[in-house]
Symmetry: C2
Subunit: 480 residues, 2 copies
């Protein structure tokens, strides 16, 4: 097989694709059944990085090997099994399986967007999905935005627009030296990507002015004024407040109404990083936690956190849709033909030039599976977290530092036989033991009062019984 | 079906997934056969944005509809068909179909990386794929890097590291005001994302110092010195030179050796945006065009341009691997447990926190399909472009402004019956006619001498006969 045409014909052979595709679907369905039941499968098949680097070595042959099925089997068995009911780790979903099929369609079609012609269907779907999200948030008709590759990039995209709107000069063209150093007021509990975004923009460590939080880890609105004053005294021009809904470590929802009032009073941009918690608006029971989000100038919402989607699909929404064109402002004659700003050439408004057909999976799942599933998933996971926190609080040997606002619960095991000064080390040891054994996948975090275990109940297959088993597993491990 | 558990059981039902998956694979295989043959299928089924916005309306029901197959049929028929042999448009691949299957695996597993535990297999594969790429580029053992979401983000990631290395102060922590405004020397033909990256970082329009190009649209090395001097005189601190391999509009490869010499002489960071052209290193026939790329401090390489992958999978490589940790520098106790910098927690080094299992498709395709396919695809597409340019040049009614360096060809139709002052308008009209009829998908660009048609021969199914047909179609359309 030395001829190029033959090589191409083989690699693009549709019958081989059909054969391999069918076999893969069977393999994935079998895998999924095992993962969902959680039987005979460690949550994480722990192995040191060096082991996997060897196992998946870069030994690429010149000629085809045809060992696709074999390789996929290794990939499946070696990965972290997010559909396992005892996966309760980071804020990454156990995706609804239909979404994975949509991603196969997206990847085969590879309609890269940037300009409308390169993705007519996904461009239209993106617009409609964003409108639906904006309406759920209670944002006005004027709202517009984009989908982008993750919450970190989403927050940067929003803050770039905030910079352009409120710097007091043309930040895009004139640069940072055209005015005083800028800053945003940010609760100390915000995701690291907010500080990262300001440093990317050249604002340095002073670009984030920390706003203290209360005992529930929520931004203290009365601290905004002093923070603004001290930043101003230090020579910073404050342009925005960033609030979280919810925060990463504990899932706390900042009080958005008073922040909106403050921003209005001081002419500041109001940005809400609702990557994790925006989906609460779908739940009649929990949407009250996001009260005031409809007043934000910009909102970030990760569908791969609250909406059962695989990564990455992040919405950045601007209440004044025209602001969406101010994050970036470019000309590229080979790409964007005219000097107008058509909404349909979304590459004008995203960091990405070529992009995935991000909206496809979200649009399709909302339409085929119905919205109730997503609303209920929020309600149930938040309620599950509350029940778990109650059981933990009721137990004499567990400590819950704060009752959960959403589906994130921080807690620690405090058995009587371990002195308090060893509790921090104990949590780390317990986590490592459970994770490396593959019994559970959970994480840990550091709060002002010490090291805590942390679970995100984002997998809808996780039940009360799994969480009871987690408590028992921790007790058992602590006794060793 | 009012109960949540029932809803979840239905949405996560593995047998439904198996059924829908098999059916989808059949649909995709049938689609692919039609697209690859290009029979009875317009390349782009042109419809105005408003038409598709209506067609894919945001009418999401509460309850499941089950019309997945039907919806996917509309998606397939309404999209741009990149596997059609007469798709010769933007630099987006007709992906090798196996890669689409890999993306289904990636999306189902949803191992979001950031920390090793959240993606043990994809983290290992990423490391190995990057090592393989670095070795192909001729970069040293010390090279390390990351995969990220596209070339624009990749170039920003590289330039952030350049800023930290060469600003002369701690740009990350002290911010732009700690020193004079920064700048990079950039050929006038570079992709817009380079200028975008500098504006994101707060350098304004002066952050890019344009370097003139020669008649082949390649950076003129002798212009670097004057550009550096004039920027310095204007109060800018120049930290880097960005070269293209190849540029977007014409695919020109800048002469990298003299740029490397210049950077060495002046202590500047040498970055190569080889998003499109890095794959040339795989071709024994064309790798000479990238001579000097092994001397770069950082290189960006899009696997979704030169390696038949679906978007997005971009490599950012640093010859001094430690620099990879300087693009961003963060602490987040809930995520990155320790204060060391383990290579295996790649979220420390990417804009993305959660990321897709990007390496999976590239690793799998290199291993299963063999490297020769990818090497040959480069050679053949570049050679196809040369043959096309020769036929165009030989024809009295076509004009080729520059012979192609890679698989991008710019040209225009100049029939005797149309006066030269109408040629610009003619190209735009011809393109619109061919594209809206669905006969071909090609694009246009503006060069100093006027408007040109532009093709990227990135689909390995495109043949000489298709390009001959394009010439004929243009002649026919021009006669109307």
């Amino acid at each position: 097989m030395t001829d190029f045409r033959e090589r191409i014909a083989a690699a693009y052979d549709t019958e081989a694709f059909r054969r391999e595709g069918r076999q893969l679907v069977d393999t994935l369905a079998d895998y999924l059944r095992q993962a969902e039941r959680g039987e005979g499968l460690p949550v994480l098949p722990w192995a040191a990085p060096a082991v996997n680097v060897d196992r998946f070595a870069a030994s690429f042959p010149e000629e085809p090997t045809g060992d696709f099925a074999e390789l996929m089997a290794s990939v499946l068995s070696g990965s972290n099994h997010l559909h396992h009911p005892r996966y309760v780790g980071h804020q990454v979903t156990a995706p609804v399986p239909l979404a994975a099929l949509c991603d196969a369609v997206s990847s085969l079609l590879n309609n890269g967007m940037a300009v409308y012609e390169m993705g007519p269907v996904s461009t239209a779907m993106e617009r409609n999905v964003l409108r639906w999200m904006a309406a759920r948030l209670g944002m006005p008709e004027s709202t517009d935005g984009v989908l982008t590759s993750g919450g970190s990039l989403g927050n940067l995209t929003a803050l770039l627009a905030a910079r352009q709107a409120r710097a007091g000069y043309d930040a895009w063209n004139d640069g940072a030296h055209a005015g005083p150093p800028l800053a945003v007021l940010v609760p100390t509990t915000a995701h690291y990507c907010v500080s990262r975004a300001t440093r990317v923009m050249g604002w340095g460590s002073g670009g984030v002015v920390p706003v203290p939080v209360d005992s529930r880890f929520r931004l203290r609105p009365e601290a905004l004024g002093p923070a603004l004053e001290s930043a101003t005294r230090a020579g910073r021009k404050v342009i925005a407040v960033v609030a979280s809904a919810g925060s990463t470590a504990t899932g706390a929802f900042d009080p958005l109404e008073p922040v909106a009032d403050f921003c209005e009073r001081h002419g500041l941009w109001f940005h809400v990083d609702a990557a994790h918690g925006a989906a609460a608006v779908l739940s009649s029971e929990y949407r009250h936690q996001t009260r005031g989000i409809d007043r934000a100038d910009s909102v970030v919402w990760d569908a791969h956190k609250g909406l059962l989607m695989p990564a990455l699909v992040t919405a950045v929404l601007f209440r004044d849709g025209a602001r969406s064109f101010e994050s970036f402002a470019q000309e590229a004659s080979y790409l964007f033909g005219n000097t107008e700003r058509p909404w349909s050439d979304v590459g004008l408004r995203t960091m990405e030039c070529t992009k995935e057909m991000m909206a496809l999976k979200l649009y399709t799942c909302l339409r085929v599976l119905g919205t109730r599933l997503f609303a209920d998933a929020v309600t149930e996971s938040y309620t599950l977290a509350r029940r778990f926190a109650e059981r933990l609080s009721a137990a004499p040997d567990f400590d819950v530092p704060v009752s959960p606002d959403c589906n994130i619960v921080c807690f620690r095991h405090t058995p009587a036989h371990v002195p308090p000064e060893e509790w921090d080390a104990l949590q780390a040891r317990l986590r490592e033991r459970l994770v490396t054994r593959g019994d559970f996948y959970l994480v840990q975090t550091k709060l002002p009062t010490g090291v805590y275990l942390r679970v995100t109940l984002i997998n809808p297959l996780t039940t009360d019984a799994d969480l009871d088993a987690l408590m028992e597993a921790l007790r058992t491990a602590a006794r060793r």
